[in-house]
């Protein structure tokens, strides 16, 4: 039965205009459609419409083996691909009961923090550019280029690395990798000072962002916001510290929390997170343990190429894993980690076979988008742009 929708927004009185901020727009950070009901320049109501990037990833996962789902997860939050890999791999490892060796855990933390820096650099560049600061965009992408070269060095791919696999990592880090990371990590705090020098004290930036798009902590919790959107309103929760996973308990870091709840507070939170993340990368480099990077579970983890080429047993395991997958004991797991945008969760249901029965991705941006209408009512249209930048949505997360 087809029901054609009524007009998505009725103008209230003669004074209001319904404006479509269409899916194709340079400032919506993806194919996000916003329907604004405006009275002059003031937004009376805002409604987001999504689904323009829906590719049915959750349905596709049900037709793949567990290890084949890993490259699909990269594409969900495409600015923080290793974070998605990590969440899914942790969920399946919990279902299997696998122990991950310490070197793999530390590498995961290091790459995860580099991914967080990567994501925040895109956020900072595009957010500043929306507000008008074009130079910051170029500087952020200059640093991002270095990180992408590091990713290419370690996994062969710049963005969709699929570097974390079920049971550890895909490959050993190559020679010279840690030296390159150290060089970047030594240089980066100076770069963050550069960005802050251009923005934090800048009167144009502060006038556009202070007091704009206020979100109270009660609203933030009730609407399910997460990450810096929640911490910028004063709620102190960070899953890396409060429910540590993959070795985060060995790292010392501060969680920036601000109470003002406006765009400027969220900006300060994320910039401070950049500094904390590079500190964690330095800690990971200093204390990196030795050892294997894959768990010792031949039925689940692919053997090394050399062993596969010389030993019959490894060849058979390799063949079986690739063609038949590995059966995962029945059960379900909800694994939540702290992505750059908030709480990212993977709900994996297994029925005992080699293909997942249901994989659900709890995208942090899906939840963060709900605060947008609350934040923007009564604000000017230009503030809507600042607000979208400050909640840092990514449409892959929302639409899957």
């Amino acid at each position: 039965m087809t029901e054609f929708p009524t007009a998505v927004a009725e103008p209230g009185q003669d004074k209001t205009l319904v404006l479509n901020m269409g899916p194709q727009h340079p400032s919506t950070h993806g194919v996000l459609r916003l329907i604004l009901e405006i009275d002059g320049e003031t937004v009376v109501r805002l409604r987001p419409e999504i689904g323009y990037l829906h590719t049915g990833i959750e349905k596709t996962c049900e037709a793949k083996f567990y290890q084949q789902v890993v490259p699909l997860t990269d594409r969900i939050d495409y600015l923080a691909p290793m974070t998605n890999n990590l969440c899914y791999c942790l969920a399946v490892e919990k279902l299997l009961g696998l122990e991950i060796p310490p070197k793999a855990q530390w590498m995961r933390v290091m790459m995860n923090e580099l991914t967080r820096i990567n994501s925040h650099l895109v956020w900072l560049g595009t957010h500043a550019m929306d507000i008008g600061a074009f130079t910051v965009f170029l500087y952020c992408f200059r640093e991002r280029e270095d990180i992408l070269r590091l990713f290419e060095m370690i996994s062969g791919q710049r963005m969709m690395t699929s570097y974390f696999r079920i049971g550890g990592l895909a490959l050993e880090p190559p020679l010279g990798f840690f030296e390159k990371v150290k060089k970047f990590a030594d240089r980066f705090p100076g770069n963050v000072d550069e960005y802050e020098g251009l923005l934090t004290g800048n009167p144009i930036f502060t006038m556009r962002t202070k007091g704009v798009a206020y979100l109270s902590p009660e609203d933030a919790i009730a609407l399910g916001a997460g990450g810096p959107t929640l911490r910028g309103s004063g709620v102190d929760i960070d899953l890396r510290r409060d429910a540590p996973y993959t070795g985060y308990e060995n790292f010392k870091f501060n969680v920036p929390v601000r109470t003002e709840g406006d765009v400027f507070a969220r900006y300060l939170c994320r910039v401070q997170e950049l500094r904390e993340s590079i500190g964690m990368v330095q800690q990971a480099l200093a204390g990196m343990p030795e050892g294997p990077v894959k768990a010792d579970s031949p039925k689940v983890v692919l053997p090394d190429r050399e062993k596969m080429k010389t030993q019959m047993e490894s060849l058979i395991y390799h063949f079986k894993i690739i063609t038949e997958g590995f059966a995962v004991p029945a059960g379900e797991v909800y694994q939540a980690i702290e992505s750059p945008r908030g709480e990212m969760g993977y709900y994996v249901v297994s029925d005992g076979t080699a293909k997942p029965y249901r994989v659900h991705m709890r995208g942090p941006s899906f939840a963060n988008l709900q605060v947008l209408s609350k934040m923007c009512e009564g604000q000017l249209i230009a503030d809507v742009i600042a607000a979208i930048g400050s909640i840092d949505v990514i449409l892959g997360d929302i639409d899957r």
């Binding site: 039965m1 054609f4 037709a63 279902l95 009961g97 969760g345």
Partner: protein, 165 residues
């Protein structure tokens, strides 16, 4: 590392705050429990789900004030077919719990929890869009991912992976 076997006995799990709260309020609403892989799952009678959510949100010892996720699993062809799953988090106590409500396959309907957490708005629209479960009392139950004139509910198990179009 071998997995611990799941615990399904209410008596052993009574110390968990969510279960303690619900058993104290109305033990009949709790149909089953399971503690597996360090996560607690509680099956709730479907007509009581909104009240249970409100009670858990306002529980003073461990208020589950953050709704992480509402989703659904389709167990076609066994009945009850749909299982709507709620993931809750208590920000102050850092406790998690999973609530489940089982629904039959023909015109599945459940009461909306948007009055408890406004965060449920988009999640319930997604479950309606992709599974066909109706939420009574939802302010705006329209399709969210698929186009508005789409027919069928794609995440159901009898909908092909390749799709129809």
């Amino acid at each position: 590392m071998p997995l611990a076997p799941p615990i399904t006995d209410i008596e052993q799990l009574k110390s968990h705050p969510a279960l303690a709260c619900l058993v104290a309020w109305n033990a009949a609403a709790v149909q089953a429990v399971k503690f597996d892989r360090e996560e607690l799952t509680i099956w709730i009678e479907k007509d009581a789900i909104r009240e249970v959510c409100a009670i858990l949100r306002d529980f003073p010892d461990c208020p589950f004030n953050y709704l992480c996720d509402v989703t659904c699993v389709d167990w076609y062809p066994s009945e009850p077919r749909f299982e709507v799953v709620y993931h809750l988090l208590s920000i102050s106590q850092k406790e998690r719990v999973r609530l489940k409500a089982r629904l039959q396959g023909s015109s599945p309907a459940l009461e909306s929890v948007t009055s408890v957490w406004p965060a449920a708005n988009h999640y319930e629209r997604e479950v309606f869009d992709l599974f066909g479960v109706r939420f009574t009392g939802h302010p705006n139950l329209r399709r969210i991912m698929m186009p508005d004139d789409w027919e069928g509910h794609p995440l159901r198990k009898d909908y092909p992976v390749e799709g129809y179009r």
